[in-house]
């Protein structure tokens, strides 16, 4: 059990006294059809121990065969992180006994990763950019999943027995390891979150992972150490595991900084160990002591031949890479002419892709933003879904906006048309005609309503004649009421002024 929860120092005080050093190991589960070394399906959520072959169970006599698609996905990740790709690399065996590891060794890359020496720029919310150096990205296989039964906590301590599901055993992983990140100061928690978010976005954009953190497709181990201000030498680090949401990454780093600071401030020493993150208490507890002397008896995997790459293969994969997310954002913002604040809101609302498609369908950027950030976001909020999930297609927006631009309906009516379309009443044009929503474009009918409104409010008419143009609104309102909203307010205003012989 962990010792009594250490006091934590306030974050501000911790930052006054110490500089944090961060490091991340992010495991990305690839979405290949089959596993890293076997033909078993790589699928989530199936009945336990059904997605297994003799290879995944480590039965006597089996041999691994490298999944070529997994290698290609790994190379793509390496390229997207600006890494060099090894011309030749081996797998190694990492030997340790644990029941979720069927062979009691993990087949992993050790001293020869497929990708190494890269970097990635991370932009924080206020636009500050940090460059994070990537040490390596290497291939390995996932372990099975243990479920501890009969205990109060679901942890192995106190459990009566444990169940193991080998469906996940052998799922291809790429582990991305950063170099130590220094000089980030108080922005460490924010950077941690932004870094993991960036990795998730990159692998999703590459199409090599489903990138769902809640399913463990992207898992982060966060290393934290502190050094007193001005000191060069790094302090003792802890590695916090089980940090499986972006928010948790931020909180865990913040918590560990505060915890380390409290221990160090009180003259204590940090134990090099793994820590477990607990979302409920937003704190960590001690796990297994870890030292650099952990002896995994690595040696080259004799059952596999080296992975050999060549320029033609790498260049082919490079040519298949999609545009990097950060570059794409930069390009779109410039193309669309949005301000920084406008664009950030669009990104945060998760409608950037939708706006891009809508613009491509033929709507002006400002108009596309009006729709997605306005009416559609409003409806999404009410329905508690993502805007993209409402079923509003770019083609629908094109048609609605076309009706507005042609003066057939106004903005207010367009919402009612949208109601009809989403209720399955047909296309916008069909809804307009079925619900009788078309604006009154017959000037004769409008003039009749205007005359009525002027007659009803002779004092207002007089004010307008006297040059008080802002009073027009009251007459427009009367006309709109008379036409049940189905008039083009601009045209009404124009006609009122003409009627009264006033220059607009």
């Amino acid at each position: 059990m962990s010792t009594a929860t250490a006091e934590i120092l306030s974050f501000d005080e911790a930052m006054e006294k110490f500089d944090p050093v961060l490091g991340f190991e992010v495991h990305v589960e690839l979405n290949t059809r089959t596993k890293m070394f076997s033909s078993a399906p790589n699928a989530f959520g199936d009945t336990p121990n059904t997605n297994v072959t003799p290879v995944d169970l480590g039965l006597p006599g089996v041999l691994p065969v490298i999944n070529r698609v997994a290698v290609e996905s790994s190379i793509k990740i390496g390229l997207a992180l600006g890494c060099k790709i090894a011309e030749k690399c081996h797998f190694a065996r990492k030997n340790y006994f644990y029941p979720d590891t069927p062979k009691n060794f993990q087949t992993s890359q050790y001293d020869e990763p497929i990708a190494y020496d890269g970097s990635i720029d991370i932009e924080l919310a206020d636009g500050t950019v940090f460059t994070i150096e990537i040490e390596r990205a290497h291939m390995e296989e996932d372990a099975g999943k243990l479920t501890h039964m009969g205990g109060a906590t679901g942890r192995i301590q106190g459990a009566e027995f444990s169940l193991v599901d080998y469906n996940r055993a052998g799922v291809p992983l790429v582990e991305i390891v950063t170099k130590p990140i220094v000089g980030v100061g108080a922005r460490a928690p924010e950077l941690a979150k932004a870094y993991v978010a960036a990795i998730r976005e990159i692998v999703k954009n590459l199409g090599v992972s489903d990138a769902k953190m809640e399913r463990g497709n992207v898992r982060c181990d966060a290393n934290v150490s502190l050094k007193p201000k001005g000191q060069e030498k790094f302090g003792t680090r802890t590695e916090t595991k089980n940090v499986n949401s972006l928010r948790a990454v931020e909180h865990a780093v913040r918590y560990e900084i505060q915890r380390h600071a409290a221990v160090l401030d009180a003259g204590g020493t940090i134990t090099q160990e793994t820590r477990h993150w607990h979302e409920d208490t937003r704190s960590t507890t001690a796990g297994r002591p870890k030292s650099d002397a952990d002896d995994y008896r690595y040696f080259p995997e004799p059952d596999l031949v080296p992975v050999v790459t060549d320029d033609a293969w790498i260049e082919k994969l490079r040519s298949e890479l999609p545009e990097p997310p950060a570059a794409r954002r930069k390009r779109l913002q410039a193309d669309w002419g949005y301000s920084d604040a406008e664009f950030r809101d669009v990104v945060n609302a998760g409608v950037m892709d939708a706006i891009e498609e809508t613009i491509a369908a033929g709507v002006k950027p400002a108009t596309a933003r009006k729709w997605w950030m306005g009416e559609i976001s409003r409806r999404a909020k009410i329905a508690d879904v993502e805007p993209a999930e409402l079923g509003v297609t770019p083609a629908l927006i094109v048609e609605l906006q076309g009706l507005i631009d042609a003066g057939k309906i106004n903005d207010k009516l367009s919402r009612e048309v949208l109601d009809g379309v989403l209720a399955g009443e047909g296309t916008p044009t069909e809804v307009v005609s079925q619900r009788g929503l078309e604006v009154v474009s017959d000037d004769g009918a409008l003039l009749e309503a205007i005359d009525g409104a002027l007659a009803a409010q002779p004092d207002v008419a007089e004010k307008i004649r006297g040059g008080k143009l802002q009073a027009v609104g009251a007459i427009v309102g009367g006309v709109m009421k008379a036409t049940r909203g189905q008039a083009d307010a601009g045209r009404v205003r124009q006609l009122i002024l003409e009627r009264l012989g006033v220059e607009g």
């Binding site: 003799p54 039965l59 006597p60 006599g61 041999l63 002896d295 040696f299 059952d303």
Partner: protein
């Protein structure tokens, strides 16, 4: 009527395809022979009676309706119990796998089934193939048909003894440091270790992955070539499997001729440490080859003297990792200690009870050799020696087409003689290990008797040149059989205790 068990596989195949003999008769004859002599020999851990007869009856049926059959269809075979077989137990000679049935077939077994070769059963071995005498089997030793008080070699003593005792015309073995060739030598049979990667290892329970290779165990060189052609060739399940076609091996055996063949005598694999009788038979073999027109030259492989030491670092290192999976969690033996044991204690108790002493010895050696701080000195250095041995071979093969040496330094020793002296036991493989270290192929053919016990002669060839082994081996076999007036095994005594 001919005793069908005395026929070579090639002869039996001929009788089967010409329908002079049915597969049922052939299989039944061997099952009868097993019933008769195996209580004394203990070559088989499992006899696969029902399935072997069923396959034989299928062969007879298909042949009767005129279907095209594989040339060896209906020829029965024994399989070393290190190779997994569906429908039969596979023990690896260990208590830790007692009662375990594989849910899948090894690639070589699938190929036997495709050829419709009835599998007679599974043969005894040193536990996990660790040994040179088959005394380390958890299921009792196998005895040498030439002298029941002596060992049949190891680890594949069961396969060699089964073939030597006419219980099977063919068998499969595995060779990590000599486990096919040394038993061949001491039982008067033929054993081949193919080029590394020439035969799929998928389904061969791994001892040392970079050294292990499956190969034929037979009574004639031609039979070995025929079997090699069945089991060899690329397998996508084994990443280390070569893509080369298996080659015309039987043709090489049939066209045996050493005229003009350059045969290199390895200076370092003879003389001191080699029994006088072994050395004498070896010298006579060289004379015969010379007389037949071979160009016999001496070659030097100075680094071979380090081979044994390096082997005993690499092999246990890989074995320590390969054997980690036997932990009681997923299959095989599980020992649950009293109290409320943790998984670590279950694993520990299972391995303590399930593994024999020699296996434990090698796991400990290998774990130590791979440990941080020792890796470079042990595993790393051993890998360098491996490169030097490879270079010795490369140099030797510029001077000679094949190399030759005695297969083992001595004839079969007595049961128990070396059991308490692991180092003396290990020395048995001194001449066979270099081939595994370099991945080159080797064959052992009978070379005559010394004090009434068989002596083996080994040929080695460059990687992927297995055909040369069959050419040279068959030539020497023919030359020697001329001097003996028939196969060496014709001189074997009746098995004691058998009427």
């Amino acid at each position: 009527m001919t005793d069908l068990t005395r026929l070579s596989a090639a002869q039996l195949a001929e009788k089967l395809s010409s329908r002079q003999v049915s597969a049922m008769e052939a299989v039944q004859a061997h099952l009868d022979r097993i019933g008769e002599v195996d209580p004394a020999i203990n070559a088989f851990l499992h006899v696969n009676t029902d399935e072997a007869l069923r396959v034989a009856s299928e062969v007879d049926k298909e042949r009767s309706i005129g279907d095209a059959m594989h040339p060896l269809a209906g020829v029965p075979i024994a399989v070393k119990d290190l190779i997994v077989t569906k429908g039969q137990p596979t023990t690896a000679g260990s208590k830790i796998l007692e009662g375990w049935h594989s849910p899948y077939d090894a690639t070589v077994v699938r190929r036997l089934r495709d050829a419709k070769m009835p599998i007679l059963g599974k043969t005894n071995l040193d536990e996990f193939a660790m040994g040179s005498s088959t005394e380390h089997s958890a299921y009792g030793p196998t005895r040498n048909p030439w002298d029941l008080d002596r060992i049949p070699g190891g680890s594949g003593g069961g396969s060699a003894a089964a073939v030597a005792a006419f219980e099977a015309p063919l068998a499969l073995g595995t060779d990590t440091g000599g486990s096919i060739r040394q038993p061949g030598a001491v039982t008067g049979t033929v054993g081949v270790k193919p080029t590394y990667g020439g035969v799929s290892r998928y389904g061969a329970i791994a001892m040392a992955s970079s050294l292990d290779q499956i190969g034929p165990v037979t009574r004639t060189v031609l039979d070995a070539a025929l079997l090699h052609e069945v089991i060899g060739g690329h397998d996508p399940h084994d990443s280390t499997s070569l893509t080369d076609p298996v080659g015309a091996l039987a043709e090489a055996a049939r066209n045996a001729d050493v005229k003009g063949l350059r045969i290199g005598v390895i200076k370092e694999l003879q003389g001191e440490g080699y029994q006088d009788g072994v050395q004498a038979r070896f010298t006579e073999a060289l004379d015969l080859l010379r007389q037949a027109g071979a160009d016999v030259v001496e070659v030097s492989c100075p680094n071979f003297k380090y081979a044994l030491g390096a082997y005993y670092l690499i092999m246990p290192s890989e074995a320590s990792s390969n054997l980690a999976k036997y932990d009681g969690v997923r299959f095989g033996l599980r020992v649950v200690p009293d109290g409320a044991p943790t998984i670590e204690r279950v694993m520990g108790a299972t391995r303590a009870a399930g593994f024999g002493d020699e296996v434990k010895r090698r796991i400990i050696l290998g774990t130590y050799a791979l440990s941080a701080g020792y890796y470079d000195a042990y595993y790393g250095s051993a890998q360098k020696v491996r490169t030097l041995i490879q270079r010795d071979f490369d140099a030797a093969f510029t001077q000679a087409d094949v190399l030759i040496s005695p297969t083992a330094p001595t004839t079969a020793f007595k049961l128990g003689e070396k059991l308490d002296d692991p180092l003396a036991m290990y020395l048995n493989d001194v001449a066979t290990i270099p081939a595994n270290m370099a991945g080159v192929p080797g064959i052992s053919v009978p070379g005559g008797l010394a004090d009434g016990l068989p002596v083996g002669i080994q040929f080695l060839a460059p990687a992927r040149q297995d055909a040369r082994l069959y050419r040279a081996g068959a030539a020497l076999e023919a030359l020697l059989e001329d001097t003996w007036g028939g196969p060496l095994l014709a001189q074997a005594p009746e098995i004691a205790g058998v009427k």
